[in-house]
Amino acid sequence: AQSTDTFNYATYHTLEEIYNFMDLLVAENPQLASKIQIGNSYEGRPIYILKFSTGGDNRPAIWIDTGIHSREWVTQASGVWFAKKITQDYGQDPTLTAILDSMDIFLEIVTNPDGFAFTHSSNRMWRKTRSKTAGSICVGVDPNRNWDAGFGKPGASSNPCSDTYRGKFANSEVEVRSIVDFVKTHGNIKAFISIHSYSQLLLYPYGYTSQPAPDEEELDQLSKSAVTALASLYGTKFKYGSIIKAIYQASGSTVDWTYSQGIKYSFTFELRDTGRYGFLLPASQIIPTAQETWLALLTIMEHTLNHPY
């Protein structure tokens, strides 16, 4: 694409096309957007995040990531659409403008670059990282079981051949470690939203224990508002709740760790659909999915802005 205006948001793209898109977006919006490399993947690919900031120093921030499970293609595609939306709406949409006038937004579109490249080159169904496990012929760790939150408890597998293999130790995956280091160094992230597909769910901690999170009531109320906003566009129905109640026990998950770091507004989305196409969601649904999800994201971001802690 020659510009982010001619980029086709209604089709799936390769890693190279998404990285080129990021460079175009930053070049077109130097006052608002910048690209930060937070590390290199296991196979040596750069791991980039986009930073949207209108100034200040180490402002309170909101983190959004997509594509941690590489086969969930609608999430990376939605992340691309979110990036463009932020640059289009700043200065136009009063809610987003208020958020960016006080907070920064970090967006990691391809959180698992090796896995994503592998879905294009070899196996469209690949979910995990591509790290090698000594002593096993099987490859990869589930990057959503590798975080230091309930790591090793029930809700993940110790079998390297399993799709929910937790890894030999917490943060063993450089794709996870890079985010952990960034979050700890930044130290002022107030909301952390990790986007998956599919099932149409909005989830909050915990996944590794049935103990309710201290902020469960507020998180539940905010989830209700967010899924109501989401449904207002196309009527897409989302369920919401804690990970362990809404789906199953999952240990070592992203948002359990971010919540344990004091990031109160920690959420996981499971986007379209509920099970007709699953991970093979037709490209025609990318834009509607991104549009409706954006309304839920705005609800969470606005709540974060209005409830400083």
């Binding site: 599919y198 789906i247 699953g278 991970f279 490209a283």
Partner: protein, 94 residues
């Protein structure tokens, strides 16, 4: 690249905890090469599993013989992948 001709995605409905456990046991049979898109969790929650063509008959017989109901969510995974690829390459060509 990996080929998914004949692979189907089944949506399994486990009616009770015993059936959930049976489906979980399937997960451990590595030779079947099942790929759970939605893990077995509790009765009434759908379980989606991609079944390679070579394992289809065995899995369907297992489910039917245990009275575990299922529907076919995706008839042929490869046909959807081919469609996805065509869309991407037609865009790139344009």
């Amino acid at each position: 690249t990996e080929d998914f001709v004949g692979h189907q995605v089944l949506r399994v409905s486990a009616a009770n905890e015993a059936q959930v456990q049976m489906v979980k046991e399937l997960e451990d049979l590595e030779h079947l090469q099942l790929d759970f898109w939605r893990d077995p969790s509790r009765p009434g929650t759908p379980i989606d599993v991609r079944v390679p063509f070579s394992s289809l008959q065995a899995v369907k017989i297992f489910l039917e013989s245990h009275g575990i109901s299922y529907t076919i969510m995706i008839e042929d995974v490869q046909s959807l992948l081919d469609k996805e690829k065509r869309q991407m390459s037609s865009f790139q060509a344009r």
